[in-house]
Protein backbone atom coordinates (compact mmCIF):
# COMPACT_ATOMS: atom_id res chain seq x y z
CA UNK A 1 0.00 0.00 0.00
CA UNK A 2 1.25 3.43 -0.78
CA UNK A 3 1.84 5.78 2.06
CA UNK A 4 1.33 9.53 1.80
CA UNK A 5 4.06 11.75 3.24
CA UNK A 6 2.89 12.66 6.77
CA UNK A 7 -0.73 13.37 5.88
CA UNK A 8 -0.08 16.11 3.29
CA UNK A 9 -2.41 15.22 0.37
CA UNK A 10 -0.39 17.12 -2.23
CA UNK A 11 3.00 15.61 -1.46
CA UNK A 12 4.20 12.89 -3.86
CA UNK A 13 3.52 9.29 -2.82
CA UNK A 14 6.64 7.32 -1.97
CA UNK A 15 6.36 3.62 -2.94
CA UNK A 16 7.45 1.07 -0.34
CA UNK A 17 9.30 -1.18 -2.78
CA UNK A 18 11.30 -0.56 -5.92
CA UNK A 19 10.31 -2.39 -9.08
CA UNK A 20 12.21 -2.42 -12.31
CA UNK A 21 11.54 -4.12 -15.62
CA UNK A 22 15.10 -5.28 -15.76
CA UNK A 23 15.68 -7.96 -13.16
CA UNK A 24 19.20 -8.97 -12.43
CA UNK A 25 20.48 -11.56 -13.32
CA UNK A 26 17.57 -13.02 -15.37
CA UNK A 27 17.30 -10.20 -17.88
CA UNK A 28 21.05 -10.12 -18.33
CA UNK A 29 21.08 -13.82 -19.11
CA UNK A 30 18.19 -13.59 -21.57
CA UNK A 31 19.67 -10.72 -23.52
CA UNK A 32 23.09 -12.35 -23.29
CA UNK A 33 21.69 -15.56 -24.76
CA UNK A 34 20.01 -13.76 -27.65
CA UNK A 35 23.16 -11.78 -28.40
CA UNK A 36 25.20 -14.95 -28.17
CA UNK A 37 22.97 -16.73 -30.67
CA UNK A 38 23.10 -13.81 -33.09
CA UNK A 39 26.88 -13.66 -32.78
CA UNK A 40 27.09 -17.40 -33.42
CA UNK A 41 24.90 -17.08 -36.49
CA UNK A 42 27.03 -14.26 -37.87
CA UNK A 43 30.14 -16.32 -37.24
CA UNK A 44 28.56 -19.30 -38.94
CA UNK A 45 27.90 -17.33 -42.09
CA UNK A 46 31.54 -16.34 -42.08
CA UNK A 47 32.81 -19.84 -41.26
CA UNK A 48 30.72 -21.57 -43.90
CA UNK A 49 31.57 -18.97 -46.47
CA UNK A 50 27.96 -18.13 -47.17
CA UNK A 51 27.11 -14.91 -48.87
CA UNK A 52 23.82 -13.47 -47.58
CA UNK A 53 23.30 -11.80 -50.92
CA UNK A 54 23.39 -15.20 -52.54
CA UNK A 55 20.59 -16.49 -50.30
CA UNK A 56 18.31 -13.72 -51.45
CA UNK A 57 19.18 -14.48 -55.02
CA UNK A 58 18.56 -18.20 -54.67
CA UNK A 59 14.81 -18.27 -54.94
CA UNK A 60 14.50 -16.32 -58.16
CA UNK A 61 17.33 -18.43 -59.50
CA UNK A 62 15.59 -21.60 -58.39
CA UNK A 63 12.38 -20.41 -59.98
CA UNK A 64 14.22 -19.68 -63.19
CA UNK A 65 15.86 -23.09 -63.12
CA UNK A 66 12.55 -24.84 -62.58
CA UNK A 67 10.90 -22.95 -65.37
CA UNK A 68 13.58 -23.71 -67.92
CA UNK A 69 15.18 -27.04 -67.07
CA UNK A 70 12.60 -28.86 -64.94
CA UNK A 71 9.54 -27.93 -66.93
CA UNK A 72 7.86 -29.65 -68.67
CA UNK A 73 8.09 -32.78 -66.53
CA UNK A 74 8.65 -35.94 -68.56
CA UNK A 75 5.49 -37.85 -67.69
CA UNK A 76 6.34 -40.68 -70.09
CA UNK A 77 9.30 -41.50 -67.94
CA UNK A 78 7.16 -42.22 -64.92
CA UNK A 79 4.62 -44.14 -66.95
CA UNK A 80 7.18 -46.82 -67.71
CA UNK A 81 6.29 -50.24 -66.28
CA UNK A 82 9.61 -50.69 -64.52
CA UNK A 83 9.20 -47.35 -62.77
CA UNK A 84 5.65 -48.19 -61.76
CA UNK A 85 6.86 -51.52 -60.44
CA UNK A 86 9.40 -49.68 -58.33
CA UNK A 87 6.63 -47.49 -56.95
CA UNK A 88 4.82 -50.63 -55.83
CA UNK A 89 8.04 -51.91 -54.31
CA UNK A 90 8.46 -48.65 -52.43
CA UNK A 91 5.00 -49.09 -50.96
CA UNK A 92 5.72 -52.67 -50.01
CA UNK A 93 9.01 -51.70 -48.44
CA UNK A 94 7.30 -49.06 -46.35
CA UNK A 95 4.71 -51.60 -45.17
CA UNK A 96 7.36 -54.12 -44.21
CA UNK A 97 9.60 -51.56 -42.54
CA UNK A 98 6.66 -50.01 -40.73
CA UNK A 99 5.27 -53.35 -39.54
CA UNK A 100 8.51 -54.84 -38.27
CA UNK A 101 9.66 -51.54 -36.87
CA UNK A 102 6.47 -51.15 -34.87
CA UNK A 103 6.60 -54.79 -33.79
CA UNK A 104 10.11 -54.39 -32.37
CA UNK A 105 9.28 -50.97 -30.94
CA UNK A 106 6.52 -52.30 -28.66
CA UNK A 107 8.72 -54.42 -26.37
CA UNK A 108 11.50 -51.84 -26.52
CA UNK A 109 9.05 -49.16 -25.43
CA UNK A 110 7.91 -51.45 -22.61
CA UNK A 111 11.51 -51.81 -21.48
CA UNK A 112 12.15 -48.12 -21.92
CA UNK A 113 9.13 -46.93 -19.94
CA UNK A 114 10.17 -45.98 -16.47
CA UNK A 115 6.93 -46.94 -14.77
CA UNK A 116 6.36 -50.48 -16.03
CA UNK A 117 9.76 -51.70 -17.17
CA UNK A 118 10.41 -55.26 -15.97
CA UNK A 119 13.84 -54.28 -14.69
CA UNK A 120 14.90 -50.75 -13.78
CA UNK A 121 18.58 -51.61 -13.87
CA UNK A 122 18.84 -53.77 -16.98
CA UNK A 123 15.83 -53.54 -19.25
CA UNK A 124 15.27 -49.83 -18.82
CA UNK A 125 18.69 -48.56 -19.94
CA UNK A 126 18.70 -51.12 -22.75
CA UNK A 127 15.30 -50.08 -24.03
CA UNK A 128 16.06 -46.38 -23.82
CA UNK A 129 19.45 -46.75 -25.47
CA UNK A 130 18.05 -48.86 -28.31
CA UNK A 131 15.30 -46.37 -29.07
CA UNK A 132 17.54 -43.33 -28.83
CA UNK A 133 20.28 -44.76 -31.03
CA UNK A 134 17.79 -45.92 -33.69
CA UNK A 135 16.31 -42.48 -33.67
CA UNK A 136 19.55 -40.57 -33.76
CA UNK A 137 20.85 -42.20 -36.93
CA UNK A 138 19.23 -40.78 -40.03
CA UNK A 139 17.41 -43.22 -42.30
CA UNK A 140 19.80 -42.53 -45.17
CA UNK A 141 22.77 -43.42 -42.97
CA UNK A 142 21.03 -46.64 -41.96
CA UNK A 143 20.56 -47.34 -45.67
CA UNK A 144 24.21 -46.78 -46.47
CA UNK A 145 25.30 -48.98 -43.56
CA UNK A 146 23.04 -51.85 -44.57
CA UNK A 147 24.07 -51.53 -48.20
CA UNK A 148 27.72 -51.74 -47.21
CA UNK A 149 27.08 -55.00 -45.38
CA UNK A 150 24.35 -56.59 -47.49
CA UNK A 151 24.82 -55.06 -50.91
CA UNK A 152 22.33 -53.14 -52.98
CA UNK A 153 18.65 -54.04 -52.96
CA UNK A 154 15.43 -54.01 -51.02
CA UNK A 155 16.76 -56.06 -48.11
CA UNK A 156 19.04 -53.21 -47.09
CA UNK A 157 16.25 -50.71 -47.67
CA UNK A 158 13.68 -52.59 -45.61
CA UNK A 159 16.11 -53.09 -42.75
CA UNK A 160 17.02 -49.41 -42.80
CA UNK A 161 13.33 -48.45 -42.74
CA UNK A 162 12.76 -50.91 -39.90
CA UNK A 163 15.51 -49.33 -37.81
CA UNK A 164 14.09 -45.90 -38.51
CA UNK A 165 10.60 -46.98 -37.49
CA UNK A 166 11.89 -48.63 -34.31
CA UNK A 167 13.30 -45.29 -33.20
CA UNK A 168 10.37 -43.21 -34.37
CA UNK A 169 7.56 -45.36 -33.01
CA UNK A 170 9.54 -46.46 -29.96
CA UNK A 171 9.79 -43.00 -28.52
CA UNK A 172 6.10 -42.23 -29.11
CA UNK A 173 5.10 -45.60 -27.64
CA UNK A 174 7.26 -45.12 -24.55
CA UNK A 175 5.84 -41.65 -23.92
CA UNK A 176 2.34 -43.08 -24.20
CA UNK A 177 3.11 -45.90 -21.75
CA UNK A 178 4.60 -43.52 -19.21
CA UNK A 179 1.33 -41.59 -19.17
CA UNK A 180 -0.98 -44.47 -18.21
CA UNK A 181 -3.05 -44.83 -15.07
CA UNK A 182 -1.02 -47.03 -12.73
CA UNK A 183 -4.05 -48.35 -10.80
CA UNK A 184 -4.65 -51.47 -12.91
CA UNK A 185 -0.90 -52.10 -12.98
CA UNK A 186 -0.82 -52.11 -9.18
CA UNK A 187 -3.86 -54.38 -9.05
CA UNK A 188 -2.37 -56.94 -11.40
CA UNK A 189 0.92 -56.95 -9.54
CA UNK A 190 -1.07 -57.54 -6.34
CA UNK A 191 -2.75 -60.54 -7.99
CA UNK A 192 0.61 -62.19 -8.53
CA UNK A 193 0.87 -61.67 -12.27
CA UNK A 194 4.30 -61.69 -13.87
CA UNK A 195 5.72 -58.61 -15.64
CA UNK A 196 4.66 -59.78 -19.10
CA UNK A 197 1.12 -60.50 -17.90
CA UNK A 198 0.98 -57.10 -16.22
CA UNK A 199 2.02 -55.52 -19.51
CA UNK A 200 -0.55 -57.49 -21.49
CA UNK A 201 -3.51 -56.98 -19.17
CA UNK A 202 -2.92 -53.60 -17.53
CA UNK A 203 -0.80 -51.58 -19.96
CA UNK A 204 -1.78 -52.67 -23.47
CA UNK A 205 -5.56 -52.20 -23.09
CA UNK A 206 -4.95 -48.61 -21.98
CA UNK A 207 -2.60 -47.71 -24.85
CA UNK A 208 -4.07 -49.88 -27.59
CA UNK A 209 -5.96 -47.13 -29.39
CA UNK A 210 -3.09 -44.64 -29.19
CA UNK A 211 -0.67 -47.31 -30.44
CA UNK A 212 -2.74 -47.94 -33.55
CA UNK A 213 -2.73 -44.22 -34.34
CA UNK A 214 1.02 -44.04 -33.82
CA UNK A 215 1.57 -47.10 -36.01
CA UNK A 216 -0.35 -45.53 -38.87
CA UNK A 217 1.55 -42.27 -38.47
CA UNK A 218 4.83 -44.22 -38.46
CA UNK A 219 3.92 -45.92 -41.72
CA UNK A 220 3.16 -42.50 -43.23
CA UNK A 221 6.59 -41.18 -42.26
CA UNK A 222 8.26 -44.43 -43.33
CA UNK A 223 6.71 -44.09 -46.76
CA UNK A 224 8.29 -40.67 -47.19
CA UNK A 225 11.65 -42.10 -46.26
CA UNK A 226 11.09 -45.13 -48.51
CA UNK A 227 10.80 -42.93 -51.59
CA UNK A 228 14.38 -41.84 -51.03
CA UNK A 229 16.27 -44.88 -49.75
CA UNK A 230 16.64 -46.16 -53.30
CA UNK A 231 18.90 -43.21 -53.96
CA UNK A 232 21.47 -44.83 -51.72
CA UNK A 233 20.98 -48.35 -53.00
CA UNK A 234 18.06 -49.45 -50.90
CA UNK A 235 15.58 -50.37 -53.60
CA UNK A 236 12.38 -48.64 -54.64
CA UNK A 237 11.88 -45.57 -56.78
CA UNK A 238 14.84 -43.68 -55.36
CA UNK A 239 17.07 -45.56 -57.76
CA UNK A 240 15.42 -43.88 -60.73
CA UNK A 241 15.85 -40.54 -58.99
CA UNK A 242 19.56 -41.14 -58.66
CA UNK A 243 19.89 -42.25 -62.25
CA UNK A 244 18.12 -39.23 -63.66
CA UNK A 245 19.95 -36.79 -61.38
CA UNK A 246 23.34 -38.18 -62.33
CA UNK A 247 22.50 -38.12 -66.00
CA UNK A 248 21.13 -34.59 -65.67
CA UNK A 249 17.79 -35.59 -67.18
CA UNK A 250 16.09 -32.80 -65.31
CA UNK A 251 12.71 -33.23 -66.97
CA UNK A 252 12.58 -36.81 -65.76
CA UNK A 253 13.75 -35.65 -62.32
CA UNK A 254 10.84 -33.24 -62.29
CA UNK A 255 8.43 -36.02 -63.21
CA UNK A 256 9.75 -38.29 -60.49
CA UNK A 257 9.57 -35.50 -57.92
CA UNK A 258 6.00 -34.75 -58.88
CA UNK A 259 5.17 -38.43 -58.49
CA UNK A 260 6.79 -38.51 -55.08
CA UNK A 261 4.96 -35.42 -53.85
CA UNK A 262 1.64 -36.74 -55.14
CA UNK A 263 2.14 -40.16 -53.56
CA UNK A 264 3.20 -38.68 -50.24
CA UNK A 265 0.16 -36.41 -50.18
CA UNK A 266 -2.08 -39.40 -50.94
CA UNK A 267 -0.39 -41.38 -48.18
CA UNK A 268 -0.92 -38.53 -45.76
CA UNK A 269 -4.62 -38.32 -46.65
CA UNK A 270 -4.97 -42.08 -46.25
CA UNK A 271 -3.14 -42.13 -42.93
CA UNK A 272 -5.19 -39.21 -41.64
CA UNK A 273 -8.42 -41.01 -42.52
CA UNK A 274 -7.24 -44.28 -40.97
CA UNK A 275 -6.20 -42.51 -37.78
CA UNK A 276 -9.59 -40.87 -37.45
CA UNK A 277 -11.12 -44.31 -37.95
CA UNK A 278 -8.87 -45.68 -35.23
CA UNK A 279 -9.85 -42.91 -32.85
CA UNK A 280 -13.46 -44.00 -33.07
CA UNK A 281 -12.35 -47.53 -32.24
CA UNK A 282 -12.91 -46.63 -28.55
Amino acid sequence: MLRTADGDPRAPIKPLRRWSRFRYPNTLLSYGAVLGILAFLAYSLEFLDIDLARIVGVFPRLGDLIATRYYPPDIDYVARPDFLASVLHTLQMSLLGGFFGVLIAVPLAWFGAHNVTPSRRLAYPFGRAAIISSRAIHETIWTVLFVMVLGFGSLAGVLALTMFCVGFAGKLFADEIEAINMGPVEALRAVGAGPLQVFHYAVLPQVRVAFVGIAIYTWDVAFRAATVVGFFGGGGMGLYLKRTVQQLETNSVAAILLTIVTLVCLAELLSGWLRRLAQRMR
Partner: protein, 271 residues
Protein backbone atom coordinates in the same frame (compact mmCIF):
# COMPACT_ATOMS: atom_id res chain seq x y z
CA UNK B 1 -22.03 -76.50 -9.83
CA UNK B 2 -25.63 -76.57 -10.99
CA UNK B 3 -26.55 -77.75 -14.48
CA UNK B 4 -27.59 -74.20 -15.31
CA UNK B 5 -24.13 -72.83 -14.49
CA UNK B 6 -22.44 -75.42 -16.67
CA UNK B 7 -24.35 -74.50 -19.77
CA UNK B 8 -23.61 -70.84 -19.07
CA UNK B 9 -19.96 -71.73 -18.99
CA UNK B 10 -20.34 -73.24 -22.43
CA UNK B 11 -21.95 -70.04 -23.67
CA UNK B 12 -19.06 -68.00 -22.33
CA UNK B 13 -16.44 -70.38 -23.70
CA UNK B 14 -18.07 -70.36 -27.13
CA UNK B 15 -18.19 -66.59 -27.23
CA UNK B 16 -14.53 -66.41 -26.29
CA UNK B 17 -13.60 -68.97 -28.93
CA UNK B 18 -15.47 -67.07 -31.60
CA UNK B 19 -13.73 -63.85 -30.67
CA UNK B 20 -10.39 -65.58 -30.72
CA UNK B 21 -11.03 -67.01 -34.18
CA UNK B 22 -11.97 -63.54 -35.42
CA UNK B 23 -8.71 -62.13 -34.09
CA UNK B 24 -6.69 -64.97 -35.61
CA UNK B 25 -8.40 -64.27 -38.93
CA UNK B 26 -7.24 -60.66 -38.89
CA UNK B 27 -3.70 -61.69 -38.00
CA UNK B 28 -3.70 -64.21 -40.85
CA UNK B 29 -4.84 -61.51 -43.29
CA UNK B 30 -2.10 -59.15 -42.17
CA UNK B 31 0.48 -61.94 -42.38
CA UNK B 32 -0.64 -62.72 -45.92
CA UNK B 33 -0.19 -59.11 -47.03
CA UNK B 34 3.23 -58.99 -45.43
CA UNK B 35 4.24 -62.27 -47.02
CA UNK B 36 3.28 -60.87 -50.41
CA UNK B 37 5.34 -57.73 -49.75
CA UNK B 38 8.24 -59.81 -48.56
CA UNK B 39 8.11 -62.03 -51.59
CA UNK B 40 8.07 -59.28 -54.20
CA UNK B 41 10.66 -57.10 -52.61
CA UNK B 42 13.24 -59.07 -50.74
CA UNK B 43 12.91 -62.67 -51.68
CA UNK B 44 12.78 -62.02 -55.39
CA UNK B 45 15.33 -59.27 -55.36
CA UNK B 46 18.15 -60.43 -53.17
CA UNK B 47 21.07 -62.45 -54.39
CA UNK B 48 21.38 -64.72 -51.39
CA UNK B 49 24.64 -66.23 -52.64
CA UNK B 50 26.37 -62.88 -52.68
CA UNK B 51 25.54 -62.24 -49.06
CA UNK B 52 27.86 -65.03 -48.09
CA UNK B 53 25.50 -66.49 -45.54
CA UNK B 54 25.27 -65.55 -41.88
CA UNK B 55 29.00 -65.71 -41.33
CA UNK B 56 29.66 -63.45 -44.28
CA UNK B 57 27.28 -60.86 -42.91
CA UNK B 58 28.84 -61.09 -39.47
CA UNK B 59 32.27 -60.59 -40.97
CA UNK B 60 30.94 -57.54 -42.75
CA UNK B 61 29.56 -56.15 -39.51
CA UNK B 62 32.75 -56.91 -37.65
CA UNK B 63 34.74 -54.71 -40.03
CA UNK B 64 32.85 -51.72 -38.64
CA UNK B 65 34.26 -52.35 -35.23
CA UNK B 66 37.87 -51.54 -36.14
CA UNK B 67 37.61 -47.90 -35.12
CA UNK B 68 39.83 -45.57 -37.09
CA UNK B 69 40.94 -43.07 -34.47
CA UNK B 70 43.23 -41.24 -36.89
CA UNK B 71 40.11 -39.66 -38.28
CA UNK B 72 39.20 -37.78 -35.09
CA UNK B 73 41.07 -34.49 -35.68
CA UNK B 74 39.50 -34.31 -39.13
CA UNK B 75 36.03 -34.58 -37.65
CA UNK B 76 35.99 -31.40 -35.58
CA UNK B 77 35.58 -28.86 -38.34
CA UNK B 78 32.87 -30.85 -40.17
CA UNK B 79 31.07 -31.29 -36.85
CA UNK B 80 31.05 -27.54 -36.31
CA UNK B 81 29.91 -27.11 -39.91
CA UNK B 82 27.02 -29.49 -39.36
CA UNK B 83 26.05 -27.71 -36.16
CA UNK B 84 26.12 -24.36 -37.92
CA UNK B 85 24.11 -25.68 -40.85
CA UNK B 86 21.43 -26.86 -38.45
CA UNK B 87 21.28 -23.51 -36.68
CA UNK B 88 21.29 -21.36 -39.79
CA UNK B 89 18.84 -23.66 -41.50
CA UNK B 90 16.44 -23.53 -38.57
CA UNK B 91 16.64 -19.74 -38.41
CA UNK B 92 16.02 -19.38 -42.13
CA UNK B 93 13.18 -21.83 -41.80
CA UNK B 94 11.60 -19.66 -39.09
CA UNK B 95 11.87 -16.57 -41.24
CA UNK B 96 10.27 -18.37 -44.17
CA UNK B 97 7.58 -19.85 -41.91
CA UNK B 98 6.18 -16.49 -40.90
CA UNK B 99 4.41 -15.65 -44.18
CA UNK B 100 3.36 -19.29 -44.63
CA UNK B 101 1.85 -19.39 -41.16
CA UNK B 102 0.14 -16.06 -41.73
CA UNK B 103 -1.44 -17.39 -44.94
CA UNK B 104 -2.30 -20.68 -43.35
CA UNK B 105 -4.13 -19.43 -40.25
CA UNK B 106 -7.86 -19.10 -40.80
CA UNK B 107 -8.34 -16.11 -38.53
CA UNK B 108 -5.61 -13.87 -39.90
CA UNK B 109 -5.16 -15.02 -43.48
CA UNK B 110 -5.61 -12.23 -46.03
CA UNK B 111 -7.76 -14.41 -48.26
CA UNK B 112 -9.65 -17.54 -47.33
CA UNK B 113 -9.91 -18.85 -50.85
CA UNK B 114 -6.51 -18.02 -52.28
CA UNK B 115 -3.92 -17.38 -49.58
CA UNK B 116 -5.16 -20.00 -47.13
CA UNK B 117 -4.97 -22.94 -49.54
CA UNK B 118 -1.59 -21.71 -50.77
CA UNK B 119 -0.31 -21.58 -47.20
CA UNK B 120 -1.62 -25.03 -46.38
CA UNK B 121 -0.27 -26.45 -49.63
CA UNK B 122 3.19 -25.09 -48.93
CA UNK B 123 3.10 -26.64 -45.46
CA UNK B 124 2.27 -30.03 -46.97
CA UNK B 125 4.87 -29.81 -49.72
CA UNK B 126 7.58 -28.81 -47.28
CA UNK B 127 6.83 -31.82 -45.08
CA UNK B 128 6.35 -34.26 -47.94
CA UNK B 129 9.55 -33.60 -49.83
CA UNK B 130 12.41 -35.41 -48.17
CA UNK B 131 15.37 -33.27 -47.11
CA UNK B 132 17.61 -35.19 -49.49
CA UNK B 133 15.42 -34.17 -52.40
CA UNK B 134 15.50 -30.55 -51.29
CA UNK B 135 19.27 -30.83 -51.07
CA UNK B 136 19.47 -32.22 -54.60
CA UNK B 137 17.34 -29.37 -55.90
CA UNK B 138 19.46 -26.73 -54.21
CA UNK B 139 22.76 -28.30 -55.20
CA UNK B 140 21.48 -28.08 -58.75
CA UNK B 141 20.64 -24.42 -58.20
CA UNK B 142 23.60 -23.07 -56.22
CA UNK B 143 26.30 -25.71 -56.52
CA UNK B 144 28.08 -27.70 -53.82
CA UNK B 145 28.97 -26.51 -50.34
CA UNK B 146 27.18 -25.60 -47.14
CA UNK B 147 24.62 -23.24 -48.68
CA UNK B 148 22.41 -25.88 -50.34
CA UNK B 149 22.45 -27.82 -47.08
CA UNK B 150 21.28 -24.79 -45.14
CA UNK B 151 18.57 -24.10 -47.68
CA UNK B 152 17.39 -27.71 -47.73
CA UNK B 153 17.16 -27.85 -43.94
CA UNK B 154 15.30 -24.53 -43.95
CA UNK B 155 12.76 -25.65 -46.56
CA UNK B 156 12.15 -28.90 -44.69
CA UNK B 157 11.58 -27.11 -41.39
CA UNK B 158 9.12 -24.60 -42.77
CA UNK B 159 6.34 -27.16 -42.86
CA UNK B 160 6.33 -28.10 -39.19
CA UNK B 161 7.10 -24.67 -37.75
CA UNK B 162 4.49 -22.91 -39.85
CA UNK B 163 1.90 -25.59 -39.09
CA UNK B 164 2.36 -25.21 -35.32
CA UNK B 165 2.47 -21.43 -35.61
CA UNK B 166 -0.72 -21.35 -37.67
CA UNK B 167 -2.45 -23.61 -35.15
CA UNK B 168 -1.28 -21.43 -32.28
CA UNK B 169 -2.59 -18.34 -34.03
CA UNK B 170 -5.90 -20.03 -34.72
CA UNK B 171 -6.23 -21.04 -31.08
CA UNK B 172 -5.48 -17.75 -29.41
CA UNK B 173 -7.67 -16.60 -26.60
CA UNK B 174 -9.50 -13.49 -27.86
CA UNK B 175 -9.93 -12.05 -24.37
CA UNK B 176 -6.45 -10.55 -23.90
CA UNK B 177 -6.63 -9.17 -27.45
CA UNK B 178 -9.97 -7.59 -26.62
CA UNK B 179 -8.55 -6.16 -23.42
CA UNK B 180 -5.65 -4.44 -25.15
CA UNK B 181 -7.97 -3.09 -27.77
CA UNK B 182 -10.30 -1.80 -25.05
CA UNK B 183 -7.43 -0.03 -23.33
CA UNK B 184 -6.82 1.83 -26.58
CA UNK B 185 -3.90 -0.02 -28.08
CA UNK B 186 -3.13 0.36 -31.78
CA UNK B 187 -2.76 -2.55 -34.20
CA UNK B 188 0.88 -3.14 -33.39
CA UNK B 189 0.35 -2.94 -29.64
CA UNK B 190 -2.52 -5.40 -29.87
CA UNK B 191 -0.22 -7.81 -31.62
CA UNK B 192 2.76 -7.31 -29.32
CA UNK B 193 0.88 -7.39 -26.00
CA UNK B 194 -2.15 -9.44 -26.85
CA UNK B 195 -1.19 -12.05 -29.40
CA UNK B 196 2.56 -12.57 -29.25
CA UNK B 197 2.80 -13.46 -25.52
CA UNK B 198 0.22 -16.19 -26.04
CA UNK B 199 1.90 -17.89 -28.95
CA UNK B 200 5.57 -17.19 -28.32
CA UNK B 201 6.32 -20.01 -25.82
CA UNK B 202 4.77 -22.63 -28.10
CA UNK B 203 6.58 -21.32 -31.16
CA UNK B 204 9.94 -21.08 -29.42
CA UNK B 205 9.51 -24.59 -28.05
CA UNK B 206 8.73 -25.85 -31.55
CA UNK B 207 11.75 -24.06 -33.00
CA UNK B 208 14.04 -25.64 -30.43
CA UNK B 209 12.50 -29.06 -31.10
CA UNK B 210 12.97 -28.61 -34.85
CA UNK B 211 16.55 -27.41 -34.35
CA UNK B 212 17.29 -30.62 -32.49
CA UNK B 213 15.92 -32.69 -35.37
CA UNK B 214 17.77 -30.54 -37.88
CA UNK B 215 21.12 -31.56 -36.44
CA UNK B 216 20.24 -35.07 -37.50
CA UNK B 217 19.24 -33.85 -40.96
CA UNK B 218 22.23 -31.58 -41.45
CA UNK B 219 24.53 -34.49 -40.82
CA UNK B 220 23.30 -36.22 -43.98
CA UNK B 221 23.27 -33.21 -46.25
CA UNK B 222 26.88 -33.97 -47.02
CA UNK B 223 25.82 -37.20 -48.69
CA UNK B 224 24.73 -35.12 -51.64
CA UNK B 225 27.61 -32.68 -51.47
CA UNK B 226 26.47 -30.16 -48.91
CA UNK B 227 29.39 -30.31 -46.52
CA UNK B 228 29.61 -31.15 -42.83
CA UNK B 229 29.93 -34.62 -41.33
CA UNK B 230 27.84 -36.09 -44.14
CA UNK B 231 30.57 -35.35 -46.62
CA UNK B 232 33.20 -37.06 -44.45
CA UNK B 233 30.82 -40.01 -44.15
CA UNK B 234 30.42 -40.16 -47.91
CA UNK B 235 34.17 -40.09 -48.49
CA UNK B 236 34.84 -42.80 -45.92
CA UNK B 237 32.09 -44.91 -47.45
CA UNK B 238 33.47 -44.46 -50.94
CA UNK B 239 36.88 -45.61 -49.71
CA UNK B 240 35.28 -48.57 -47.93
CA UNK B 241 37.02 -47.46 -44.74
CA UNK B 242 34.60 -49.23 -42.40
CA UNK B 243 36.36 -48.06 -39.26
CA UNK B 244 36.20 -44.49 -40.49
CA UNK B 245 32.49 -44.80 -41.17
CA UNK B 246 31.95 -45.89 -37.56
CA UNK B 247 33.95 -42.93 -36.29
CA UNK B 248 31.81 -40.50 -38.25
CA UNK B 249 28.66 -42.08 -36.88
CA UNK B 250 30.02 -41.75 -33.36
CA UNK B 251 30.74 -38.09 -34.06
CA UNK B 252 27.18 -37.61 -35.29
CA UNK B 253 25.82 -39.29 -32.16
CA UNK B 254 28.00 -37.05 -30.00
CA UNK B 255 26.75 -33.98 -31.82
CA UNK B 256 23.15 -35.07 -31.40
CA UNK B 257 23.78 -35.67 -27.71
CA UNK B 258 25.07 -32.11 -27.36
CA UNK B 259 21.99 -30.92 -29.22
CA UNK B 260 19.70 -32.88 -26.85
CA UNK B 261 21.29 -31.33 -23.79
CA UNK B 262 21.16 -27.80 -25.16
CA UNK B 263 17.59 -28.19 -26.38
CA UNK B 264 16.48 -29.61 -23.03
CA UNK B 265 17.73 -26.61 -21.10
CA UNK B 266 16.61 -24.17 -23.77
CA UNK B 267 13.06 -25.51 -23.68
CA UNK B 268 12.97 -25.28 -19.92
CA UNK B 269 14.09 -21.66 -20.14
CA UNK B 270 11.47 -20.82 -22.73
CA UNK B 271 8.38 -22.43 -21.20
Amino acid sequence: MTVLARSRTDVVLDARRRRRIGRVGIYAGVAAILAWCLQSTILADTEWSRLGGGLGVLAGVQRFLWLDFSLVPHLLVPAVETFMMATLGTLLGCVLSLPVAWFGALNVTPSRFIAYPIGRFMMVVSRSVHEIIWALLFVGAVGLGALPGVLAVAMRSVGFISKITAEAIENIDPKPVEAIRAVGGNHFQVMYYGIVPQILPVILGTIIFEWDINIRRSAVMGLVGAGGLGLVFFRQMAQFNYGGVTMVILAILALIAVGEVVSHYARKAVT
